[in-house]
């Protein structure tokens, strides 16, 4: 606990205290909303430039370096460009839906931020069923994507939207299933409670984060894969595949509406990354006791940035999947593994009472084995063809 830790909360109280008492709750609510939008809005701008710089670095080129020092003002230039571009609505488009779709995507995503605990006592609303709220709000984005694709009256848009919806529905299952063990361990649906359940240190130095248990590690991997697919990130970005679908459901969008989609997609990525930090990486907890002088929101930001970097890295490294591979991967690999992970988590939680010698080691090995054996079997067989029997129809 230090002076920097509650700085946002005390600033909020101070600012709200300036308002007359009758409107104080409203003012503090608005201040929280403004703060969230400012932080994650600038985070969006920063991520676009950092992503392009990192991709450039990994692909052995410079990336944007013309606007401002090191090209740092590039997002500003992009924003202005997007704002003053002509907004083209296709002649045969369904005008109302075409207008509503970007809003329907962006507004729910902003709402999702309201339940994330960004630091000690730092969540905008503390809901009893916070994680359920998160997923319920997130499910609205599928309808938005459909609205965008359908209202454009363009076959590329429609195919892109159908792909996107199929992908989002399929990957929502492993996403939710991977987070269920965490709820089991914390015995709560509230996100601050989940963070609290991961406090403390095992053996005096290993933080009790969920990622340091066998089921937590597997769940984290599953969650990150599903999160990448949910937010249409690179190995799974084929709804917008520019080479085959000329950007899918975004084909007929230009100017600021396109920018809104872009914003919504990045915000969705931020929200789900924040959830990953909360569920598996101990939220705002420090990784060691002697590091607790660093404010809690700083730890959240550090973990958050590390995970965002992971997504950028994956985008630079991995090629795009094919649609049938993508859906098979979700249903035949991720979903079974997530179900097995539930079992492993149940065994782990039930075996917490074991008191015989070497119980901790046996518990670890048992749960890890429960996950590792099906993983190897599934990884070799989910596609229906074991790697040793591969044959090439056109090359032989």
């Amino acid at each position: 606990m230090n002076a920097l830790d509650p700085i946002f909360i005390s600033t909020l109280h101070w600012l709200a205290g300036l308002a007359p008492a009758s409107v104080r709750p409203l003012v503090s609510m608005l201040l929280v909303i403004a703060g969230l939008m400012a932080v994650f809005g600038s985070c969006f701008a920063l991520t676009t430039i950092l992503e392009r710089k990192t991709l450039g670095r990994m692909q052995n080129r410079f990336g944007p370096n013309r606007v401002g020092p090191f090209g740092l003002f590039q997002p500003l230039a992009d924003g202005i460009k997007m704002l003053i571009k002509e907004d083209i609505v296709p002649f045969s488009a369904d005008k109302t839906l075409h207008f509503l779709a970007p809003l329907a995507l962006t507004v729910p995503v902003w709402l999702a931020f309201s339940v994330l605990p960004f630091g000690r006592n730092m969540s905008a609303i503390e809901l009893d069923a916070g994680i359920l709220f998160f997923f319920a709000i997130g499910s609205a984005s599928e309808l938005a994507v459909f609205m965008a694709g359908w209202s454009s009256q363009n076959k590329y848009s429609l195919v892109g939207a159908m792909r996107a919806i199929a992908q989002m529905i399929s990957y929502e299952v492993p996403l939710v299933l991977a987070s269920v063990p965490v709820l089991m361990a914390a015995a709560s649906l509230s996100l601050p409670d989940i963070v609290q359940a991961q406090s403390g240190f095992a053996l005096g130095w290993v933080p009790r984060w969920n990622v340091f248990t066998p089921w937590g590690l597997a769940g984290f991997a599953l969650f990150m894969i599903a999160a990448a697919a949910e937010s249409n990130r690179c190995p799974f970005d084929l709804p917008e595949g520019e080479s085959e679908l000329i950007a899918g459901f975004l084909t007929e969008y230009s100017g600021f509406k396109y920018a809104l989609f872009f914003l919504g997609e990045y915000l969705g990525l931020f929200a789900v990354t924040g959830l990953a930090v909360t569920l598996f990486l101990g939220g705002w907890q420090a990784p060691a006791r002697w590091l607790e002088w660093f404010p809690s929101w700083g730890w959240f930001a550090a973990k958050f940035s590390a995970l965002i970097f992971l997504f950028i890295w994956a985008r630079a490294t991995l090629p795009r999947l094919r649609l049938d591979q993508l859906l098979n991967f979700a249903w035949k690999f991720l979903v079974p593994l997530a179900l097995i992970n539930l079992l492993a988590a149940a065994v782990w939680l039930k075996s917490g009472v074991w008191r015989f010698p070497a119980a901790a080691e046996i518990r670890w090995l048992l749960c890890a084995g429960l996950l590792a054996v099906p993983y190897v079997w599934l990884a070799r067989n989910w596609n229906g063809v074991a790697p040793t029997q591969r044959h090439y129809n056109y090359a032989e």
Binding site: F133, S139, L143, I165, E172
Partner: protein
């Protein structure tokens, strides 16, 4: 009473979208309006402090059922409007009769049930933990039955989909792929 105002606003929103969903001509518009009406119902639940039910309503109805309807409309190409075709089906009288009967049945069931005379609980809403415990102890049998029912429906859907796939694939089998023997094809059906 801000709660009353909120109730009337949300109720008007829900009813308006439900009515619009029935009167619009394009099926996709109808489906989207129905989704908005579902969201309005979720808001009503939230107004009653039923957090869990409200979010579940949003997750299931807006996130899954609306998407299902939209997909069905897309795949069946049912969204094309035929000019000159009457919007209501010829048997709308029967529909009205069924609707009135259902409404009367539900209304009688509610009026006869003891829940009207019960006082509202003083604590705001049931905590999620309590709901979970009740589902796992007292209502575990209905819960399992619903699970079995849904699994059955899922298996049925898979069986229907598999049939189509095997019919499509068989004639197209090239020399490299394994041809299905006649007996095997019979057993597949």
């Amino acid at each position: 009473m801000p709660n009353d105002i909120a109730f009337y606003l949300i109720a008007a929103f829900t009813v308006a979208f439900a009515v619009v969903a029935m009167t619009l001509r394009r099926l996709v518009h109808c489906a989207l309006c129905a989704a908005a009406a579902f969201a309005g119902l979720a808001m009503l639940y939230l107004l009653l402090d039923a957090e869990f039910v409200g979010f579940a309503q949003l997750l299931v109805y807006v996130g899954a059922i609306a998407i299902l309807i939209v997909f069905a409309v897309l795949l069946t190409r049912g969204d094309e409007v035929c000019p000159g075709h009457s919007q209501s089906s010829p048997s709308w009288m029967a529909g009205v009769a069924v609707a009135v009967l259902v409404l009367a049945g539900i209304a009688i069931a509610i009026l006869l049930s003891p829940s009207l005379h019960r006082l509202a609980p003083s604590a705001a809403g049931a905590p999620v933990k309590k709901i979970g415990e009740e589902l796992m102890t007292r209502y575990v049998l209905p819960l399992e039955m619903v699970g079995v029912l849904l699994t059955g429906a899922l298996l049925g859907a898979v069986v229907i989909a598999m049939h189509e796939e095997s019919e499509v694939k068989r004639p197209a089998g090239g020399p490299a792929s394994r041809r299905a023997e006649p007996e095997e094809a019979m057993s597949l059906r």
